[in-house]
C-alpha cells in the first residue's frame, strides 16, 4: 500500500491499531494526520485484522507489547 513516498506492508498494518501504527511508523516522514489517513486506507483495503485479542488489549494495557504478539505470518512480507 503506497501512501505518498512510503510503501507500507498493508497486511501487517491491518493487524495494528491506528495508535500502534502511528507509533511504529512515526519516523517515515509523514505527519500524524497522514499516518492516520494511510492507516484508514489500509484498513479499507485489507480490512481490520487486529482481531479479538487486540481488542481485549485495549482494556488490558501491555498485552499488545508482549513478544510475538501480532507478528504476521511469513508470507506477509510479500504483501503490500
Amino acid at each position: 500500500m503506497k501512501f505518498n513516498h512510503v510503501g507500507f506492508n498493508g497486511a501487517w498494518a491491518s493487524t495494528k491499531t491506528v495508535d500502534e501504527f502511528i507509533r511504529e511508523q512515526s519516523h517515515v516522514g509523514l505527519t500524524e494526520d497522514e499516518l492516520r489517513h494511510a492507516h484508514a486506507l489500509i484498513v479499507k483495503k485489507y480490512g481490520d485484522n487486529t482481531g479479538d485479542a487486540k481488542k481485549v488489549s485495549k482494556t488490558r494495557p501491555g498485552v499488545a507489547d508482549r513478544p510475538g504478539f501480532g507478528i504476521n505470518k511469513a508470507t506477509d512480507t510479500k504483501s503490500e
Partner: protein, 318 residues
C-alpha cells in the same frame, strides 16, 4: 560394381529443401540451462516470452539465461579435420575438428568482470544470429536447449592505437560435441531486436545507518571506478519505496522471514528507509544476523523495476 549392396542401411534421404535455413553470423550468445518445452517454442511469441522470463530470473535459478553483449567480430577457430593418407595415396578424414568460435565484444570493465565469472565453465549456449534465429539443439525430451560449450573470456588488453583487435574483449566458445552442434541442431525464429536481449545488473544494498529496527539502505551499482558507484535511487525512488519489493530473513540459515513494515524514499540520503517489525526485531538477540534484499527480479519487473537484481546485505544486530 559390388555384387552385394547394404546401402539401404546407410545415410538418409538427401532431397533438397526449398528455402532451407542456414546459420547466419552470430549476433548474441545466450548462456544458461533453460529447457524450452514444445509449448514454449511452438511459435516465436511463446518462445520470446519464455526467453525474456528466463533472462529475468534470479541468480541461482537453474533456468536462468544470461545474454552476452552484441558480437562485433567473429572468428571461426574450429580445429581443422585431421587427415591421413594411406600408403597407396588415398586421403581420408581421421578426426573431425570440433567447433570453436572467438567472438569479439566491446564492453567496459564492469561487464567484462561479470562475464569472466563464466570462465572454464561448461554452459549450454544458444546463439542468436543476424537473421534473428535462435540456435541450439533438441534434447531427448524434445525440449529446445542450448548446446554445451566451454566458455573463456579473455580481457581487453590496453589499446595499441593501431589495431581494432586490441579493442575487443574476446569470448571463446568451444562446443563439446559436433553431434550436438550439427546433427541435433535446431532453431527457433524470433522477431527480437538485439536490445531485447539484455541481462540484469547487480543492485548492491548498503547500510548507511540505522536506529534500532529502522535502516537507511542505499541501492547501488558497484563501479570499478573507485568512489563512482551508481545509485539507483534517482531511477527507482518511487517504485522501490514499497514494502512489497523488499524482503528480510533471519535465523541461523537466514531463512526465517522477518516482516518489513514499510519502506520510504529518503531524498536527502538518496536511500530507502526500511522499517522492520518492531516486535520481531526486539525479540532478536544481539549479534543476530538479518539478511535484507530486494524481491526477485520477476517481482521487481512486475512493479516496473526493470533490469536489476538485488545483491543482499547481511546486518548484524547490535
Amino acid at each position: 560394381m559390388p555384387i552385394l549392396s547394404l546401402c539401404s542401411k546407410t545415410g538418409a534421404n538427401v532431397g533438397p529443401v526449398s528455402c532451407d535455413t542456414r546459420r547466419a553470423a552470430p549476433a548474441v550468445i545466450i548462456l544458461g540451462g533453460k529447457a524450452f518445452s514444445p509449448a514454449e517454442y511452438a511459435n516465436n511469441a511463446a518462445y520470446e516470452a519464455a526467453l525474456l522470463e528466463a533472462i529475468n530470473l534470479e541468480n541461482g535459478n537453474s533456468e536462468k539465461m544470461y545474454p552476452f553483449p552484441e558480437i562485433q567480430n567473429t572468428v571461426n577457430n574450429t580445429e581443422a579435420n585431421t587427415e591421413g593418407t594411406t600408403g597407396s595415396g588415398f586421403k581420408m578424414i581421421l578426426r573431425e575438428g570440433k567447433p570453436v568460435y572467438t567472438f569479439g565484444v566491446i564492453v567496459g570493465t564492469n561487464l567484462e568482470k561479470q562475464m569472466r565469472k563464466f570462465n572454464n565453465k561448461i554452459v549450454p549456449v544458444t546463439v542468436f544470429d543476424k537473421n534473428k534465429n535462435s540456435w541450439g539443439k533438441l534434447d531427448i525430451d524434445k525440449n529446445f536447449v542450448g548446446t554445451d560449450a566451454l566458455i573463456y573470456v579473455s580481457p581487453k588488453p590496453y589499446s595499441d592505437g593501431n589495431s581494432v583487435d586490441t579493442e575487443y574483449t574476446l569470448v571463446t566458445v568451444s562446443f563439446l560435441s559436433m553431434a550436438d552442434f550439427a546433427d541435433d541442431a535446431a532453431f527457433v525464429p524470433t522477431t527480437f531486436s538485439i536490445s531485447n536481449l539484455e541481462g540484469l545488473l547487480d543492485a548492491k544494498l548498503r547500510v548507511i545507518s540505522n536506529a534500532s529496527n529502522v535502516y537507511k539502505i542505499a541501492v547501488e551499482f558497484e563501479n570499478a571506478q573507485l568512489g563512482g558507484n551508481v545509485n539507483f535511487y534517482d531511477k527507482y525512488a518511487t517504485e522501490l519505496a514499497s514494502a512489497a519489493l523488499w524482503r528480510s530473513f533471519t535465523g541461523a540459515a537466514l531463512a526465517t522471514p522477518l516482516t518489513i513494515t514499510s519502506v520510504a524514499a529518503d531524498a536527502a540520503l538518496k536511500a530507502f528507509t526500511v522499517t522492520l517489525d518492531t516486535t520481531a526485531y526486539a525479540a532478536l538477540s544481539a549479534g543476530a544476523k538479518i539478511l535484507l534484499d530486494l524481491e526477485t527480479p520477476p517481482v521487481l519487473l512486475a512493479a516496473a523495476v526493470r533490469g536489476i537484481e538485488g545483491d543482499p546485505v547481511i546486518i548484524t544486530k547490535a
